[in-house]
């Protein structure tokens, strides 16, 4: 018999769990080291105050907000793949959605650190939420920053529950192939799932609803993040195209991150039977599509700035190209608009090497896009007397590096603890064994 069978799916997907090898230990050590460095930098900032960051009036948003937006954006591809492609019944979703969903959760967890880091006095971060207090003070619901608190926390909660629901039947499969304490642990994690007709019936109904509820979140969360900027009067930010522009960018960067993460995962854990080059090709096409929207949005931004005949707006946009941040702009255009173009050739988008290289370029480009929006607008605002050159300090770079360490630590733990390919859904896609087939074959 050709191709995977039901039992080979269980065997192959469960094989990478638990026992780490040297390469894995090396990777997680590197991630922990990066996280430790980030933690050290943050500790320095907590002790000495926000002065250690490169902020100088009027630039009070910098690397932290850039990195916040970057990580929230990364998350979007996971939800797109798990929810939107579920509703559209895309077959290529099956192999990759579990790891993409995990990526979403860890990316949002990483993003959620940054508002706390950015406000300086992180221990007052709970002031973001409305709670009854003695000052009888409530948060300002007319502020987009407040919407963001609700959008990101809803997004995190819904994605996590959705991820957990998807995992339940597969946790049961892990339980059934382990023994002792491990089995007891997974028995608890799968809530005693047995795959009975009653369980599957309500499960499938609930899963469909979760997908339907998560779908608008893909569009709404980054729209709300974009309003953090677009609702302000700052030149370069105050634009109605921001929501679609940000959503397209988020999916673009997220799909690139899925490629970056899944390629090594597939190769190292020998999951080629379930995650083919076909899956990566689809991701690359999605990147081309959203990258096209992004390039168009960049162009539209310039057109609007010129056509509006508003000198502040146009001044900021010209400054982005020729001013202090010209190299940020150039990196952004090269990585986001030009570097994915070779993927139009099938040969390039089916080559593991080029998929990997270009996906990393896109990740870099998307970080610089947010940096371009934030730093250049604030440092070149209305009043020429307030024009400054904001340069991040090593503390800010260190915390950003630490965020990658934090993200990769979670992801590496995930691949050893949870099945990174959805076992039940892969089986659902296969032709079930039928007696009638065997009888026909025997004749």
């Amino acid at each position: 018999m050709k191709g995977p069978t039901y039992s080979s799916v269980n065997r192959d997907v469960l094989a990478p769990l638990f026992t780490p090898n040297a390469a894995y230990m090396g990777a997680i050590t590197a991630a922990l080291a990066a996280m430790a460095w980030g933690g050290y930098c943050w500790a320095l900032q907590l002790v000495n105050g926000l002065g250690v960051a490169g902020y100088r009036p009027p630039v009070f948003w910098g690397v932290y907000i850039t990195t916040f937006v970057f990580w929230v954006g990364i998350g979007h591809a996971g939800t797109l793949i798990s929810a939107v492609l579920f509703l559209t019944r895309s077959r290529w979703r099956t192999g990759i959605y579990r790891a993409a969903e995990a990526m979403t959760i860890f990316a949002v967890m990483t993003a959620a650190l940054f508002p706390a880091i950015h406000v300086g006095r992180a221990w007052y971060a709970y002031w973001l939420f409305p709670y009854p207090n003695q000052r009888q003070l409530w948060v300002n619901f007319k502020s987009p920053l407040m919407w963001d608190v609700f959008a990101v926390s809803t997004y995190f909660t819904v994605s996590t529950v959705f991820f957990f629901i998807g995992l339940v039947p597969d946790m049961a499969a892990v339980r059934d192939s382990t023994r002792g304490y491990t089995q007891k642990l997974y028995s608890v994690m799968c809530l005693g799932w047995r795959g009975t007709d009653r369980q599957w019936r309500h499960y499938m109904a609930a899963y469909g609803f979760f997908a339907a509820l998560a779908t608008p979140l893909v569009l709404s969360v980054h729209s709300v993040v974009s309003w953090d900027f677009a609702m302000a009067q700052t030149p370069g930010w105050h634009s109605t195209i921001f929501p679609p522009y940000f959503v397209a960018g988020a999916i673009f960067s997220g799909c690139a991150m899925v490629i970056t993460l899944m390629l090594p995962l597939t190769k190292i854990f020998k999951l080629e039977d379930y995650i083919h080059v076909w899956h990566f090709e689809h991701l690359a096409k999605l990147c081309l599509f959203t990258g096209g929207i992004l390039t168009y949005a960049y162009g539209t931004e310039y057109f609007i700035a010129w056509y509006s005949d508003n000198m502040y707006e146009w001044g900021t946009f010209v400054d982005r190209v020729v001013g202090n941040y010209w190299w940020v702009f150039a990196t952004m255009v090269f990585c986001n608009c030009l570097s994915p173009l070779p993927w139009y050739f099938k040969k390039v988008r089916t080559s593991y090497l080029w998929l990997f290289v270009i996906s990393i370029l896109i990740n870099v480009g998307m970080w610089f896009e947010r940096y371009n929006i934030i730093a250049s607008s604030l440092s070149h605002s209305f009043d020429p007397a307030g024009w400054v050159y904001y340069v991040p300090t090593y503390i800010e770079w260190g915390i950003m590096l630490g965020s990658f360490g934090w993200f990769f630590t979670w992801f590496l733990l995930f691949v050893k603890i949870m099945p990174s390919v959805a076992i039940a859904e892969v089986k659902e896609m296969m032709r079930p064994p039928l007696k009638s087939d065997e009888e026909v074959a025997a004749k």
Binding site: T5, Y6, S7, N10, Q136, L137, W138, V139, N140, F141, K142, M146, W147, F150, A151, T154, V158, V161, F162, I165, V168, P169, A172, A173, R175, D176, S177, V188, L191, G192, W193, R194, G195, T196, D197, R198, Q199, W200, R201, H202, Y203, M204, A205, A206, F209, F210, L213, A214, P216, L217, S220, I423, A424, E425, P432, P433, L434, K435, S436, E438
Partner: protein, 192 residues
């Protein structure tokens, strides 16, 4: 076909369990049990199959949807009420003549509340309706093969007089293994 059985004879035996390798045989088995009037069954599959659900529930949709709807309505009401009351409770005078309770910005939080609570209610419905964490299931459903590459049927609350008939239906449908139902019923198929 139905035979009157005196109450004292309706003693139950251990649940009957059948294990299948083929999906079409499983469907035949469920259908056979259904036609003979045995509905107290659990069907285990490693992944969802619509033909199983269709056969057992005959297209009746899961009530999960009502929970989702209730959650959505609750979330929308709660989120809008919360933003409106909190704004009214701290009447900050905003320049530009913006009303204290202004609909457009509050829609954002109302929308998030709708999604959040609809999801939470759906999750609660899942736990409630699937009876998770699992309880009250017969011991026979616990078979590691059912999360791997086999399907299974467990018939519960089997009367001693029915055991033979059930085992016969299951065996004839193509099960690779039929167990339980008490030892006496092992050759029951011949009497049936």
């Amino acid at each position: 076909m139905s035979v009157f059985v005196p109450v004292e004879a309706a003693a139950t035996v251990a649940p009957i369990k059948a294990v299948y390798k083929h999906l079409d045989c499983l469907v035949t088995g469920i259908d056979g049990l259904k036609k003979a009037g045995f509905r107290d069954i659990h069907v285990m599959t490693p992944f969802p199959r619509h033909e199983v659900e269709e056969l057992i529930y005959e297209g009746e949709p899961s009530p999960v949807r009502w929970f989702t709807l209730m959650g959505g309505l609750f979330g929308a009401t709660m989120a809008f009420t919360m933003t409106a009351l909190m704004s009214a409770n701290w009447p900050m005078i905003m320049p530009g003549g913006k009303p204290l309770v202004s609909i457009p910005p509050f829609i954002v939080i109302t929308f998030e509340g709708t999604i959040l609570w609809a999801s939470m209610f759906t999750f609660a419905a899942l736990l409630l309706l699937c009876r998770l964490p699992a309880r009250g299931l017969p011991k026979e459903v616990e078979d590691p093969r059912f999360s791997n590459d086999h399907f299974g049927i467990v018939v519960e609350r089997v009367g001693a007089h029915n055991a033979a008939q059930i085992k016969s239906i299951l065996a004839h449908s193509g099960a690779i293994e039929v167990t339980g139902g008490g030892d006496t019923a092992a050759h029951g198929a011949h009497h049936g």
